[in-house]
Symmetry: C2
Subunit: 438 residues, 2 copies
Amino acid sequence: MLRRAAILSIGDELALGQNVDTNSQWLAAELAARAVHTIEHRTVADDRAAIAAAVRELAARVDALVLTGGLGPTEDDLTRAALADALGEELVPDEAALEWIEANFAARRITMPASNRLQAMRPRSMQCVPNPHGTAPGLVGTLERCVIAALPGPPREMQPMFRERIAPRLPVDEGTDVLLTTTVHELGLGEAAAAERLGELVARDRTPLVGTTVRDMIVSARIRAAGPAEAMRAAIDGEVAEIERRWHPYVFGRDEATLAGAVGTLLARAGKKLVTAESCTGGWLGKMIVDEPGASGHYVGGWITYENALKTSALDVSSTLLSACGAVSREVAEAMASGAMAHADADFALAITGLAGPEGGSAEKPLGTVFVALASREQNGIDFVTRRFRFPGGRSVIRERSALAALQMLRFALLGVAPDTPMLFETLPVETPAAPRA
Amino acid sequence: MLRRAAILSIGDELALGQNVDTNSQWLAAELAARAVHTIEHRTVADDRAAIAAAVRELAARVDALVLTGGLGPTEDDLTRAALADALGEELVPDEAALEWIEANFAARRITMPASNRLQAMRPRSMQCVPNPHGTAPGLVGTLERCVIAALPGPPREMQPMFRERIAPRLPVDEGTDVLLTTTVHELGLGEAAAAERLGELVARDRTPLVGTTVRDMIVSARIRAAGPAEAMRAAIDGEVAEIERRWHPYVFGRDEATLAGAVGTLLARAGKKLVTAESCTGGWLGKMIVDEPGASGHYVGGWITYENALKTSALDVSSTLLSACGAVSREVAEAMASGAMAHADADFALAITGLAGPEGGSAEKPLGTVFVALASREQNGIDFVTRRFRFPGGRSVIRERSALAALQMLRFALLGVAPDTPMLFETLPVETPAAPRA
């Protein structure tokens, strides 16, 4: 049997929607990785009675209950008092925790405000857990057979405390069952086609269980298997391999993998370098590439030629071409890529020019029209693969999709995938004949 | 009395931590804007009994219950059946909804899979709500005195359905009380100093109620007031003005406002233009600026000079200077800003060079060391304000903080704030004398 957990987040700012709760997702994933199945998340306001009631109700149904938030030194930090209520205990001062908090302030040469003494209080049967990244100690204890841990709300304090101090105290599974999850991502195939290719894999009576989710242009297959460890690991690996086969060549990675990371690995393996030239994305493509550690091995850098004058002065895009074809055109995308190649020592150039809105757009080139040019340095000159997209969505969505599509185009080239492989949101080639390059 | 609501999210992918639930935050904020106070969020897995139990338990305590997710056509979409269980009713087909779903498929020239018929089923006493952005109709009805609405999970379907079809059916407040919330943001003061300047404003017995939250370098004051509408609006406005006074000049905006947006407004007002030169941020600064609609009015573009060779070839940073001072130095930051000014028609240039890790760093220049140079075109030449920071955090945090700090430096210049105004994470000036510029 898998162990069961619940997560309780505390805070007015969460209940009222002033902040998004990301802690619960992080904790649920960490628990799943330790074969603990989270059956419920709950968020309540800074209300002592509501917190205590939720603790009692959840602790009766799960093996582990993890609370976050409400451990600060202010009057609206009520987790300690609510836990004492739920346990039917009084709050007592913890001398070691108080010393630790005082030392912490002393090290920063700050006089400890009296209110911080409150943070060294604990329900009698619970223990304080040191916090190396803040002033609020955590708490750990039990209510009947349920392990209860209370962690500070800021992720940089909560995460190490959970991993180092709480995870080792979680109830260990007595059987051999584990809960394994993984996710496989694709870009460019689209939700409908991705689901069609998965076919019978998504039936609800199969192990592993497969479902899909979509975020922007990325479709992800979520795979889950519960059972004996070895068999489940083999089942998950087999399922991943099958999905990779069905989603080829659009599938680019698992779990935390990004498309920029996949491209970076391929560039590094080939010993090739990339330069970028961006207009509407305004640096987002560069940011995605540099988000990956080790980008300096394969990324030269690039240009953000947002104004047309900079396209001309920095990348030699002729003003004649800009007038004749418009800044959002196949010709200008290719001229930007050419200019980037001419001004940097690189094997590939990616150039993006498009209409992200909110204003602009015409019947011929509606909002969302984006041209992406990939230039590759070949023995006899420079080859181009250029695609025209029409991305649905608002300004930010169009820009993110443009950068992702550009990365997938480069990935296809690095893998030797045919350049006419269809991609989601691609539109027909421009019918006007290409203008001569300046 | 304010009306009370709860939000129930449904889905294995949420409970297990494979996705972050952003719908609940969005809904809570929308409800708050309509004077409905969300007291609890809950997330349960795709488990019919668990969903039904949560519906019964929450509906007994609130005036409105909003569910999201579990309305799709697959076997793990159990919201309809669970609602029928909670209401003690049977599921019946809704002819109008079925026709609407069939027409939807016909318009896309797709044969409707039999499974989609399930989406036209409703508990007998509930009504179907059309979905213009997907195939899943919503549901709305009542359980005792609680209004219950079930919405699809994808935000682009959920949000318009909530605003257009559900919000008008929410229980209207019978008194004159409203719940107003707003948030005020600062960057560069830091959490401790920001809290100290707020002083007595954060006492728990005041109206409005003020609390603070921190995300990266941005400290936000959350302000909340419940009571008669006119008085509360005045109280909130007064509180915002007082916080703006206390946090001057670091405070840059309210609610959805961004630092890049605040800088953009100031640039537009002054009729000035900006160019950027980025190394470790890799385009993130440009992206932040272009994230704001209307950026083309004041942003020329920029360079991502990630490799040193590109700093030299594109921005004329001499290789002698790079060898003598290192790429991460005051001198190179200023040379990058100079080069950007020389190659673009702009009034300001922001240049960033730093060590974001995960590798590199030395005793003299540890990881997190970042130089930001702001060049301003003056009558007699170019003025520089350059700051050295040491940002804590990992690669991504260091890079985001660098871009934000750069924007705040430009904002200070546009407002005429003294250039020696201290900023969070700034370190002492470099002691070595400046090398001659190439």
